[in-house]
Chain length 167, copies 4
Amino acid sequence: GCRAHSKDRGAGRTSALNHYRAAPMAIDVPFRSDRGFDALYGLEVTHASQELMRGRVTVRDELRQPAGLVHGGVYAAAAESLASTGTALAVLPEGKIAVGLSNQTSFLRPITEGTIHAEATVKHQGRTTWVWEVEISDDAGRLCVLTRVTVAVRDIPHLPGDARESV
Amino acid sequence: GCRAHSKDRGAGRTSALNHYRAAPMAIDVPFRSDRGFDALYGLEVTHASQELMRGRVTVRDELRQPAGLVHGGVYAAAAESLASTGTALAVLPEGKIAVGLSNQTSFLRPITEGTIHAEATVKHQGRTTWVWEVEISDDAGRLCVLTRVTVAVRDIPHLPGDARESV
Amino acid sequence: GCRAHSKDRGAGRTSALNHYRAAPMAIDVPFRSDRGFDALYGLEVTHASQELMRGRVTVRDELRQPAGLVHGGVYAAAAESLASTGTALAVLPEGKIAVGLSNQTSFLRPITEGTIHAEATVKHQGRTTWVWEVEISDDAGRLCVLTRVTVAVRDIPHLPGDARESV
Amino acid sequence: GCRAHSKDRGAGRTSALNHYRAAPMAIDVPFRSDRGFDALYGLEVTHASQELMRGRVTVRDELRQPAGLVHGGVYAAAAESLASTGTALAVLPEGKIAVGLSNQTSFLRPITEGTIHAEATVKHQGRTTWVWEVEISDDAGRLCVLTRVTVAVRDIPHLPGDARESV
């Protein structure tokens, strides 16, 4: 299987709510978004739970910076998607949403070809914030990037647009 | 004008060197890459110097995460490209390369439409590292994202592949 | 003048509340804590508002690491105190507390003697988080340290101990 | 045993070199500094190697912020000392020094009493930078703080003062 589905399919009252409900509450892996940024750069989620998320991205020329290395933004994007999705899996059923708060990425070793392997491990599942550590490796299993992603857990906004307020 | 050009066009001895020389030493703004990740997500550089870099990205559905907000990876990518390019402008003529070391992004307020405006200001121009603070705003001029990018300044590797070593 | 005072001196119902009320709601500068960590390392607050906090620390041998440079923890401490206090000035009167969420410090240039000058500028005053950028300089005015401090704004806990829960 | 010793006790040519040589090349644990910032806040190193450093700090009133929690600067200081010392253990014998480059601390859960337990695990041992992840826990074993410390590895400066240059 290869699609995301929500346990709560009730008709959203507003488009903003629909947007948030569009986030998956359960994922059949491997999963690839068919739209949005994850589809653009090519994230494939290969494991999904509240504690551990795994994904991969195939390196291609469109993901490189001018020197031929994978662009740092690709790593940051994959890390954030995994962390946010893992948090959403847990909090959406409780009527809350997951909103990225910060992303701290350290580049240790470049990746130039093959596949980017990302593994996100939850470190803190607090009431208002979740923290994930994401390790990104190359095909040889060498650690190439470390990312810490902090995700805010917030109430679903009551009115359209509220969810898009500042944190 | 709209192209990047290198002041040193000498035939690179190796493909690795070619890659690095491909990075611009001067930029005619506005500038858009025609390949690589910056082209994929759509960065347009509108001001380029060693002290200040500016760029913008037009929001479109391919840049959004499932909730309809611009994906955090887009901000991280734009910030890193501006900081790395600004550093490269200064150090490439000295025979050195700019390599991203870390990227610390804080999400303050989501952007959902219009244009992403990024401004990178250099804070430190050290011998081995440069540090840039990047502020990203929406069309209303509200600060939405803060990113600090640390760029390592390193000697150009002598042998192909060296440049891709770990930092 | 040199003391902190709270506009609300009502008898706290619990020791936890007392602790939080001990945080200043207004500050007569210059201000030095007479207890706690700020007193131990020697922070003097020289300007205090919700938008801008300034402070300084006199370098002495007890603040150095083995190589003779000021220890990185001193900078992190000063930055966090300034940011947390500046946030508390605004949110305590609204019945909320300020709790440090993250501290991202980059060391640009060591300080070995004289005075550490720290200036914290608020970048984001959100409903649930405030973000400050702190620049730390030496006596020659050279930028030596950059710190971004994120402060969570939370309701005062109803029961003793609640305030000390995880974020 | 309880003292740091250097394998190279040769008379340093300059005071700057002496400072750097004062950093331990081997440590008999448990180890407590008798001077400097680590002594002031009370770090005790309980395990020391290039891969894993452990330490602890006893909570006392002098380490608290106004709300009664351990001040964030204490965690940042302990994390940085462990990471820098662990790096120095490896690089000093090779004639290089370890200099803190950045410290990214996330506060997950406050500590108010007992002992602060810090464990630093090396994630990257590069030619020019080392990266450590530090986990700080309370007496109940709950994860309270995450810190990522990046340490620059640099040549020992040839002239007095050079080591104190900007990075």
